[in-house]
């Protein structure tokens, strides 16, 4: 089975984010990029599928700071090859990036058709669209999102997938391959890979760089007028002191409400 995983680099929100001087973008000086968390779930699902059904996993990503780390990590985890696609725009646009990806995917020899294209169900910067439905539309493939379980009948050329709905309800669908799936969670938490293994991958494997063709604007462009930290209308009253002092303060608060 041939599986492609689309990784997108997004700001690590564990770090403090700052707005750049233009007032419209993030300040790159303080920015640390990581692979979108749900894309990491998609990679894990791809690796699990490869283990179960045999096949290859190819990881593709648009070029971005720290992307080499993410791609070498994917190789160390068991991906077979990794492609880095030049990203011209640098603008905050999932749509522009996905055009570029979709165009380039079809130019890399031997890559398409793949049985499955997996990516995260969404990302924290998907302001103008989501990768999975966009790529499915551009490649004319069927798509399902918010997927948490995938099993494949290779002989019949179909996958059975579970998709999340509200309140813990899931829906079961059958989808013809090739298909695009927006993964919400892999069946197992993403595997851990020691740094030594990533370093070994850096020595023994290579990331293939692909130039990007010029991309036409599909007319979906947005204008970001302003970016700012959310205005805090309400903020918790912060309790300070030693753990014991705070515990006592909390007990008073709970006691006042009859909770202890």
């Amino acid at each position: 089975m041939k599986i492609i995983v689309v990784l997108k680099m997004v700001p690590d929100v564990v770090e403090e984010l700052e707005v750049a001087a233009d007032g419209k973008t993030l300040d790159s000086e303080f920015l640390r990029l990581i692979a979108n968390e749900l894309d990491a779930q998609a990679l894990e699902e791809a690796l699990l599928l490869k283990e179960k059904y045999t096949g290859t996993v190819t990881v593709v990503s648009l070029d971005a700071p720290e992307v080499d780390d993410a791609l070498f990590t994917a190789l160390a985890k068991g991906a077979d090859q990794a492609f880095k696609i030049a990203d011209g725009s640098g603008a905050l646009s999932t749509r522009a990036g996905t055009y570029r990806l979709a165009q380039v995917l079809s130019t890399i020899q031997g890559l398409l058709p793949a049985d499955l294209i997996l990516t995260g169900a969404q990302a924290n910067d998907d302001l103008d669209g989501l990768t999975a439905p966009l790529i499915s539309h551009l490649l004319r493939l069927p798509q399902l999102g918010i997927v948490t379980k995938v099993s494949v009948d290779t002989a019949a050329g179909v996958a059975t997938v579970l998709r999340e709905f509200p309140g813990g309800v899931r829906g079961e669908y059958e989808i013809k391959l090739p298909a695009v799936l927006g993964i919400q969670a892999a069946e197992k938490p993403p595997r851990y890979v020691p740094v030594a293994k990533v370093l070994a991958a850096m020595k023994s494997q290579a990331i293939q760089s692909v130039p990007a063709p010029p991309v036409a604007d599909n007319g979906g462009s947005l204008q970001i007028e302003e970016m700012a930290k959310p205005e805090v209308t309400e903020h918790a009253q912060m309790l300070r002191g030693s753990p014991e002092e705070i515990a006592d303060q909390l007990c008073e608060i709970l006691a006042a409400r009859g909770l202890v």
């Binding site: 997004v10 929100v13 564990v14 403090e16 984010l17 993030l26 749509r95 169900a121 969404q122 924290n124 998907d126 302001l127 669209g129 989501l130 999975a132 439905p133 966009l134 551009l138 069927p142 399902l144 579970l162 999340e164 709905f165 509200p166 309140g167 813990g168 309800v169 899931r170 829906g171 079961e172 669908y173 059958e174 989808i175 298909a179 969670a185 197992k188 938490p189 007319g219 979906g220 947005l222 970001i224 007028e225 302003e226 970016m227 930290k229 959310p230 209308t233 918790a236 009253q237 912060m238 309790l239 300070r240 753990p243 705070i246 515990a247 909390l250 007990c251 608060i253 409400r257 202890v260």
Partner: protein, 329 residues
């Protein structure tokens, strides 16, 4: 004629979602400001009776077809495409939920129009629309102008109080012929209901909820001890469930359970919008997180900037000794 404002009325399993009323309330404001009508678009199968509840809209377009019986983004987008082309609304407001996810992206791409996700507010400014969109897990907000009309706006839950979108008025309903076929590539099979866990967290008065900040699965026991001392239960945010630290029945948030306990103690939870959606109506929210900027502190009444593992044992101890004193009093 600039076209109307549309709200895609989300229904799932024969019931209108709460967010539909929230988005109707917002749509009414925008239609009034722009001087046009508000129209609700209802899609599904055998859903026409639901149109009577959409009276906040000036009229309802009803798209009823067996192919729309269960949500498939591609089929929903195909059903909407021709009527958007034919009737040229100036804005399409679509609930951004895990029922409708994906439809907006497909529509925007197919029609070559703008799409703005994660809108927590939309305003009409000098005759054009401006959204306030949540980015980076709630750490930033962007004021966004879609460059052309119509624009599809993905609206987050909580944009307006749902009651503002309800009315007794019964709107005129127009049946729209839908030319759509069931997807030849995607076949619906069945719903799988959630397993009932040992504890129904929606019925607990006290919840100690744990997040990634707990660092290790072994620490869940520490939170469970506090929950026990308080006479409640332990639950968690999505990452904790995905890691297998707690069963799915204990997940609070958008794709888990919505809870309203008397006390919600969020331990090591950053407060991503998907999580907040499931607990924001709790009576008392106390949050512990090392990052004082974490969005959870915007919904909590009391906050502690500390490591969960430094505080929880001390709190359990304090609660226990207070209860002991009380029982001897």
């Amino acid at each position: 004629m600039a076209g109307n404002v549309w709200v895609i009325a989300e229904q799932w399993r024969g019931q209108l979602s709460e967010i539909t009323y929230e988005v109707l309330a917002l749509g009414k404001e925008l239609a009034t400001a722009l001087g046009c009508d508000l129209q609700a678009v209802l899609l599904g199968h055998n859903v026409k009776p639901l149109a009577a509840s959409l009276g906040k809209a000036d009229s309802v377009l009803c798209l009823d077809h067996s192919a729309l019986a269960t949500p498939v983004a591609e089929t929903f987008a195909q059903a909407l495409m021709p009527i958007i082309r034919a009737r040229s609304p100036q804005a399409i407001l679509m609930p951004l939920t895990n029922v409708s996810l994906g439809v907006a992206s497909l529509l925007a791409e197919e029609l070559g129009i703008g799409c703005v996700n994660f809108c927590r507010d939309v305003r009409a400014v000098d005759g054009s629309l401006q959204t306030r969109s949540v980015l980076y897990g709630g750490k930033m907000e962007a004021i966004v102008k879609p460059a052309q009309r119509p624009a599809i706006l993905g609206i987050l839950p909580g944009v307006r109080p749902p009651d503002e979108g309800r009315t007794e008025t019964v709107p005129p309903v127009e049946d729209v012929t839908v030319d759509v076929q069931e997807s030849s590539s995607i076949r619906w099979k069945r719903y799988i209901e959630p397993e009932i866990g040992d504890v129904d967290i929606s019925k607990q008065e006290v919840l100690v909820s744990v997040g990634r900040g707990l660092q290790s699965p072994d620490n869940v026991a520490v939170a469970a001890e506090l929950a026990e001392a308080l006479g409640g239960a332990v639950c968690g945010s999505r990452p904790v469930i995905d890691q297998g630290w707690l069963p799915l029945s204990r997940q609070v948030g958008k794709s888990g359970v919505v809870v309203k306990p008397k006390l919600y103690l969020a331990a090591g939870i950053s407060g991503a919008p998907e999580h907040v959606e499931g607990m924001k109506n709790s009576e008392l929210i106390i949050a512990i997180n090392t990052d004082e900027q974490a969005p959870i502190f915007h919904v909590a009444q009391y906050g502690i900037a500390a490591d969960v593992m430094d505080l929880l044992p001390a709190l359990t101890e304090a609660v226990r000794s207070r209860k002991e004193v009380k029982s001897h009093a």
